[in-house]
């Protein structure tokens, strides 16, 4: 047994290492991670979320709604390791590592070839795309494990496995509990699988019915939150369904068209949003996104000078597509459908491209790539020895270069490029909280909200008693479409600092960026400059000052 799975065990160890190495330290905590962590801590201590809702199935935090499973799974981890970065990132890293094993067995089910399965598992273990979201506190890192389990279980079920469908039901329902994008992907892929395997399902209908029943039972608790106002708000905030074109734009179009017919033909809301969604959909198949640039606009998805896959995947995917079609592989349609359905959740959102919401693309792409690689090995066997050596050496050289470049980019070159802002890594808060705690005593403390979400970082790093916070929790939103800010607790006020007005608050500590606390306006007679906290690139993040009595 050990001997049989030895290569897989090695690959699993590589996956674990790549996901757990410096897990808690190499990147600043972002506000989503902080809110996942603090809400899990709040559940652990009080059985309620930050707003005092008892065991909720959707968590409202920093004005956003979060799926529940990741938070609940993190509760025992936080119990063991305490509330810190490592605990928050543990579950995605752990389940992400387990994905490699699941992926191995799934690929084995699809092709029944050990070599392809091992290559696929190795490719997933070192995949930049997979590491990006499983080596961080991302709900997609949890959801993806359950989706993979769902698909694997289903394929097993169609082959007559007694537990296959049941695992599939648990997996699919688990992913619905884990991540919002899966709530669209899972029904679509499940529908496809139902339709495509209807003959096999007929043959195994008893197992299938038991699984359906189990799935329904498991999904019932979350149904109310799926039709709740919070869920609707999340959909409207993130998808094109909540996007409204500006009045100026519509007016301009009407003025230029001077015809209702032309407007109705080419410029209706549905048409333009639909066209936009098509554009977003196809962006996910762009070679720039996949191989060379990734998602440059979003620091949490971005890897400097890299796409979401390696460049060596290009020839492998091309060979793989050709060979899979040529050999008319049995599960060709499953791979194609998986790949075509995966970007749909991303296509209907407002972002041009999203590696997070289209995360399910990675599996079919790597299956194809692994298949291509395996075919290339077969092809190489028929070449002359000299050609084999040249090919192998250049291949290994290319791989080593790209993998080294990825590690360099991921660990060293990328972190200083996305350290602030709502989609960044929120650097500076840990140091700020630590410093403020040293000096605050009983003074009033005003923290600027330019970098967004300070309240959740103070709660997180202070390990503030959730029971005490729940009674003070108050969210301030500038508009319906904006995310909110926690207004404050105890002596803390979180708001946008307006120095000409705020400088009058005596014996108060202020922390904010230079724009909010301009050096030229900080008169020595009025304020004492206490400290500066810096981003990774040396730029000042926060200036901490105290107004004198």
């Amino acid at each position: 047994m050990f001997k049989k799975y030895f290569p897989l065990i090695i690959i699993f160890v590589i996956a674990i290492f790549l996901r757990f190495y410096k897990l808690g330290t190499f990147r600043c905590l972002n506000w989503d991670e902080a809110s996942f962590g603090y809400n899990a801590y709040s559940i652990l201590k009080t059985g309620r979320d930050e707003y005092g809702v008892k065991f909720p199935l959707q968590f409202k935090s920093v004005g956003d709604y979060k799926a529940p499973l990741y938070i609940y799974l993190s509760v025992p981890v936080i119990k063991v390791f305490g509330l810190n970065e490592f605990s928050v990132r543990f579950m995605p890293a752990f389940l992400g590592s387990l994905c490699i094993i699941l992926f191995y067995f799934l690929t084995k089910e699809l092709f029944n070839k050990e070599r392809i399965s091992l290559i696929a598992a190795l490719m997933l273990a070192i995949s930049p795309w997979h590491i990006q979201f499983t080596k961080a506190g991302a709900d997609v890192g949890v959801g993806t494990f359950f989706t993979l389990l769902g698909i694997y279980g289903f394929i097993k079920g169609t082959k007559g496995s007694k537990w296959g469908y049941l695992f599939s039901a648990i997996g699919f329902v688990g992913s619905i509990y884990s991540y919002f994008a899966e709530r669209l992907f899972v029904p679509l892929i499940a529908l496809f699988l139902l339709f495509y395997f209807k003959k096999e399902i007929k043959k195994t209908k008893n197992n299938f019915l038991i699984a359906i029943l189990a799935g329904l039972l498991l999904i019932i608790p979350i149904v109310p939150s799926l039709v709740s106002g919070g869920h609707e708000e999340k959909i409207l905030k993130t998808t094109i369904f909540g996007y409204h074109r500006s009045d100026e734009y519509i007016q301009k179009i009407n003025e230029e068209d001077k015809s209702v017919v032309l407007y109705s033909l080419y410029h209706t809301d549905i048409f333009e949003n639909g066209w936009g969604a098509l554009n977003h959909y196809f962006n996910h198949f762009s070679p720039s996104f996949l191989f060379s640039e990734g998602v440059e606009e979003d620091p949490r998805q971005f890897i400097f000078n890299m796409g979401m896959l390696y460049l060596f995947d290009i020839p492998l995917i091309l060979i793989g597509i050709y060979q899979i079609i040529r050999k008319k592989e049995k599960y060709l349609m499953v791979i194609v459908a998986w790949l075509l359905i995966a970007p749909i959740p991303a296509a209907i959102t407002k972002d041009l491209v999203s590696a997070r919401r289209s995360f399910n693309m990675i599996y079919p792409l790597l299956i194809i790539s692994a298949y291509g690689f395996s075919m290339m090995i077969d092809w190489l066997k028929n070449q002359s020895k000299k050609a084999q050596i040249i090919f192998k050496l250049s291949g290994i050289g290319f791989f080593v270069f790209l993998f080294s470049y990825y590690l360099l980019s991921y660990y060293i070159l990328t972190p200083p490029k996305g350290y602030a802002g709502p989609s960044g890594w929120h650097c500076g808060y840990k140091e700020l909280v630590s410093y403020i705690n040293e000096i605050k005593e009983d003074k009033k403390v005003v923290i600027d909200t330019t970098y967004q979400g300070p309240y959740i970082f103070f709660l997180f790093y202070e390990k503030y008693d959730p029971a005490k916070y729940q009674s003070q929790a108050r969210l301030v939103q500038e508009s319906e479409n904006s995310l909110g800010e926690g207004a404050g607790y105890d002596n803390y006020i979180f708001k946008s600092i307006y120095w000409p007005g705020d400088r009058g608050d005596l014996n108060t500590i202020f922390a904010g960026p230079e724009e909010r606390l301009p050096q030229k306006d900080l008169q020595k007679t009025e304020v004492e400059i206490l400290n500066s906290i810096y981003f990774l690139d040396g730029k000042e993040a926060f200036k901490v000052v105290r107004t004198l009595r």
Binding site: E256, L262, Y266, L278, F282, S288, I412, L413
Partner: protein, 222 residues
């Protein structure tokens, strides 16, 4: 006798492909924009990426600066972060941009003189035909055209401006060829689907003409 019929058939199909190719090129947005703005010197901004480009040198220096703060051996850094590797990355990016669906079918060149910005150089309805055309070329082992598909984007890959269109015209023509080939291939097998795609192409064409005549001049004058 049989041979000559066969030859005739081949030449007939070739003629059809050629005719559709000409039609596809004639209705393609890139040609309309090119003709409309032919009075503008579109070549003046076409420059090769300089191996010693300041942006590339800056990136290398910043990256090496960041690496120097860590324990990474400098020799390792120099092997990976250098002019050759960063220049290659820039060229690869531009090469791959050629196949970017957003560029080809939705927005086109970043320069408003070379694209309407609400259409790509080709129509989205070409896409299924294009894929079918490439697929059938693979099946027919039409290697030359497949090689050309890999070679033509090289021209744009060495141009400084991202998504530059003039240097990618050969690619547009080749893609139009694959589309016309795909249309013939599809028409033989699924006539209704081919006709549906033709209808979609006509709709996209009308949408383009509408935008080109009514909205594009306004954007161009901004």
């Amino acid at each position: 006798m049989k041979k000559s019929k066969f030859t005739k058939l081949i030449s007939k199909e070739k003629n059809r492909v050629g005719l559709i190719l000409i039609l596809f090129i004639l209705i393609s947005p890139w040609l309309w924009v090119l003709i409309r703005n032919s009075n503008i010197d579109m070549y003046k901004n076409i420059k090769l990426i300089n191996f010693k480009d300041e942006a590339i040198i800056d990136q290398i220096n910043i990256s090496r600066g960041e690496m120097s703060k860590t324990n990474v051996p400098s020799i390792f850094g120099r092997i990976i972060v250098n002019k050759v590797s960063f220049y290659s990355i820039e060229v690869t990016k531009r090469y791959l941009e050629t196949f970017d669906p957003q560029y080809l079918f939705f927005n086109g060149d970043l320069d408003i003189n070379k694209s309407t910005r609400s259409n790509g150089p080709l129509y989205l309805s070409f896409l299924p035909l294009l894929l079918i055309g490439i697929y059938s070329s693979i099946l027919n082992k039409d290697k030359l055209k497949l090689y050309l598909l890999g070679i033509f984007p090289l021209i744009g890959a060495f141009i400084e401006n991202h998504y530059e269109s003039i240097t990618r015209i050969p690619v547009f023509i080749l893609l139009s060829y694959f589309s016309s080939y795909g249309l013939i291939y599809l028409y033989k097998r699924k006539k209704w689907l081919a006709l549906l795609i033709v209808f979609l192409i006509l709709f996209e064409f009308s949408r383009f003409v509408h935008d080109f005549l009514i909205h594009y001049p306004g954007r161009l004058n901004l």
